[in-house]
Symmetry: C2
Subunit: 244 residues, 2 copies
């Protein structure tokens, strides 16, 4: 049974302000919870699930606080349009360490505001072994539930920080900065990078002028057909497949 | 002003059965409508929009049936959670011609059920100049509103057909079939294809055994990090960037 106050509290974590104050966020659905129970168990504060799911996962859940809820209760606390068996309250990850960029490929995101795109980029980064993503402060919040869903659990493994992006890039004088742009080098002709920061820009506006001026190498994914643009996450996948 | 019957009729096009019976579908939002008004004007049956949008686009709309609606009316007929200025009823495209696969790269999709993934793959195909996509009958419907949104207008330029995929591929004896699989050739080491069909499989189950047996060349996108999988659309983008 879930009391009204508890329901309200869990619902409130749908808002960034409350997530920031509490240092908590929500992840939902069997697939992501199983991932996080493996990779980030110590961050999980409580699990709310329907009886069948809780019973099937008892061993993995261990002694984490567990609440069995009805379908109706789950619908109330869920942020999904189709609630999916279980939900967890999780402590935000400690992403405060200065990222070590030496000998690595890292990503910088300029105003990636679509939560699905941000989450998918985090998942792609994790696939290609990229551990640092630096976001401009106006990117979507990584703890937004749609971002969390789209990361498919990779949120626990990639270090994401929010900074004044132009100022931060300007301070990185000893590392090359790459970015996708309309007139650049064909990505297919490029070689794997030993080290570098790759910038991806806003879904419709691209990379801001201020950031673009700091870029050393422009990269293009040549268009052979007629689509107006490529999705930002797909572009990130293509560039990382070649350069990382 | 929109009558109740008209509202019900437009809402009914949210269902595949009704779309099939009427031969119509819905597209929404300024960006896609502007695309379709340019690339597929003759298919547009009627436009419903708020006054401001209709006025700004009068010249492009021309003599297509136009209805000015209030925000409340738009909310009623829209399938989006946030209705976006305008919506059009559109005649389905004629995708009945036998696809010409000679000297081209074409795609085959096995059980791509996520509408966002299907729409994004259509947009990616259009970017890389792929004009034929062959879907297994259990893929999402391309006229589902979420698919239409995700194509960003590319739906008008790519020929999508639904077939019994294993039987169809088995009949293509004179063309090589490629597919992403766990143990295949590293995509980064491959060259552009002159001709071929590339198969992408279901988001979680991959490619069915029956289809896999027909594949001539398996392709792998090597994993360097820890993510459990790559999104199907991202995989399609990476493979097409290298092979198309």
């Amino acid at each position: 049974m879930l009391g009204k106050l508890k329901i309200k509290y869990i619902q409130s974590l749908g808002q960034k302000k409350l997530r920031d104050e509490e240092g908590l966020f929500i992840a939902e659905g069997p697939k992501i919870l199983q991932e996080l129970l493996t990779s980030a168990k110590k961050n999980i504060v409580a699990v709310y699930g329907i009886e069948e799911w809780i019973q099937a996962n008892e061993a993995t859940i261990g002694n984490i606080e567990t609440v069995i809820v009805t379908d109706d209760e789950l619908a109330k606390i869920s942020q999904l349009s189709t609630p999916n068996k279980a939900l967890a309250i999780i402590k935000k990850f400690d992403n405060s360490a200065t990222p070590d960029l030496k000998g690595k490929v890292s990503l910088a995101l300029d105003t990636i505001q679509d939560p699905g795109n941000l989450g998918t980029i985090i998942r792609i980064a994790d696939w290609f072994g990229v551990t640092n993503i630096i976001c401009s402060t106006d990117c979507a919040d990584i703890y937004n539930s749609k971002v969390v869903q789209a990361t498919m659990g990779s949120i626990a493994r990639v270090n994401v920080q929010y900074v004044d992006l132009a100022a931060w890039l300007a301070s990185k004088k000893d590392i090359r900065i790459y970015a996708t742009a309309l007139e650049g080098q064909d990505v297919a002709t490029m070689k794997k990078l030993e080290e570098g920061i790759i910038v991806f820009g806003n879904e419709s506006k691209g990379i801001s002028e201020e950031v673009l001026q700091l870029v050393n190498v422009k990269i293009t994914i040549p268009k052979k057909g007629n689509a107006e643009s490529l999705n930002a996450a797909v572009a990130a996948g293509i560039v990382l497949a070649v350069l990382s």
